[in-house]
Amino acid sequence: MSSSAITVVIISFTLGTLLALLTIPILVWMERRVASLIQDRIGPNRTNIFGFRLGGIVQSFADVVKLLLKEEYYPAHITTGRWLFMFAPIITFVAALLAFMAIPFADTLNINGEMLRVQPLPIDFGVFWYMAIGAVGVLGVIFGGWMSHNKYALLGAARAGSMVISYELPLGLSILSFIITYNTVDFNVMVHFQTGTALGFLPAWGIFIQPLASIILIIALFAETNRNPFTVAEGESEIVAGYMTEHTAMKFAMYFMGEYVAMNTASAVIITMVFGGYQLPYFATEDLLTHFSTFAVIIMIVLPLFIYGFIKWMQKNNRVKETLSSDGGRAFETRFFTIAFIVMGVVLEFILLYLAFISQSDLERSIYIAVVQVAIFVMKLMLFNLFFIIIRWTLPRFRYDQVQTLGWKYLLPLSLVNIFITAIVVVGASL
């Protein structure tokens, strides 16, 4: 292995870990702020470090500190299997984290003839990895509920178990129709497949090529992540907190954070399989490389507009009403970030100028395109996470038998029919 290969592996692994772990506080914050904005409230905006409140993200770190410093309490009635009781949240968390590691964040880098994957785990069977590891996550829920020796927790675990058998089949079958369409189990090749156009004008995204399978996949992944409208395992109106009733402090936090990592992973999988992954619609990586100057000039025009819009929005919203005497340091924060964003924009403009007109190095350009693709991936990821959150604050919860009806009576036959049609079309096209 050359030094560039080692660098790329280390960078993509760091990127994957950061994307999975650092998004937890951001997602918790997003969930709280989006929920409050949807309900015409404000949400957490007070906690700050030296006056920097970042719109309230600091609150999430304060929450983590609080959960870490809480008393570790073990229910005295749990006599057998205490290690499994402790281990269960870790299973959920680690499974979600590992499943995220098979997602490609950018196209394969070509460094001096070496093809290097920008993927934390550089494997070419990512779909199988996701299906294998992703399904383990629910074991943590079932073990945790079962080992709690508590009727609510046991009911929650039973519900999780019944749900897993009703959504795993449609999930696997819808993924199977994607595998048939894309003719691969490699996430990166799947993204490549989605770069062209379908029917002449639509981007060849999975949602346009396989609409039914895409919808089934999205529904099944909502169920897999235990998010609304499928939060049957922890319905607080019937079974308190469900499987995590007896879990306190950091054990609870593991379940809680695991839910957000799972949501992030599900978003990443949906984006990669259905919404074109890290690619811009219509443009393949080769197109961007051959027309690099045009691409760079477009970004150079769009970037300042984007920064200008963001600064305007920040100046309008990161302040208090005029009637209040003190703004708690928001004016200073706004000024600091205005300058920071302008400096960042200027630096990026100069880098783009250099790459577009002075440097002719393909290596630098392809690295730059990889960075842009990571940015597009993160943007799509956050948009889909926002969709997850908005759905949670829009829909009521399905009843536990309704989930099973949906899974067995509707999604399973639909996905079987879809596989049948897909197979006929694919075989017919190959004749």
Partner: protein, 174 residues
């Protein structure tokens, strides 16, 4: 007989309802509208920014923290009749009476303790008082302290509270 029966036409269960996805889209449209409206102007949200922004909608009838009223000469209007303590459903008023030798009245409270941790702010003491000596018109809705004893109001504290809506003096004892 049949003309009295009103037949309500039930909504027909169409494919659109069975699909469930159009309903989700309609719901997301509503929530997203709220989200977008509020994210583009956070200061338009009606929430009170509490410690900096104080409520302005406290009315005359609002039952705030108690106070003891004064007479014209500045002495306490209370005659220590124990009516309020008797009416109190949570038994949070503790009065000790003493004889009043300045010729203004016969009795006055030697001590008057009101435990606000026990108080349910029902206003029965105000209703029961024959001398208009105890009132809840201070407009104070928030009381903080570091220990339990801070919440037990004594006579001096209760006399020091100011009414914000009506005159300071008792209207029954002059």
């Amino acid at each position: 007989m049949s003309q009295n029966i009103k037949v309500t036409k039930r909504p027909t269960y169409t494919l659109k309802h069975a699909l469930y996805l159009p309903a989700i889209a309609a719901g997301v449209k509503v929530t997203f509208k709220h989200f977008f409206k509020n994210i583009s102007d956070i200061n338009a949200v009606a929430t009170l920014r509490y410690p900096e922004e104080q409520p302005t909608d406290i009315t005359q009838r609002y039952r705030g923290l108690h106070r003891l009223t004064h007479r014209q000469d500045g002495s306490v209007a209370c005659v220590a009749c124990f009516m309020c303590a008797t009416a109190c459903p949570s038994n949070c008023i503790f009065i000790e009476a003493e004889e009043r030798d300045d010729g203004v009245d016969e009795k006055r409270p030697k001590s008057f303790f009101l435990d606000t941790l026990e108080c349910v702010f029902c206003g029965y003491c105000v209703e029961a008082c024959p001398c208009d000596a105890i009132r809840m018109d201070t407009g104070i809705f928030s009381l903080t302290g570091n220990k339990r004893e801070d919440f037990v109001m004594d006579k001096e504290q209760l006399l020091s509270h100011k009414g914000v809506f009506s005159e300071e003096l008792s209207r029954a004892r002059f």
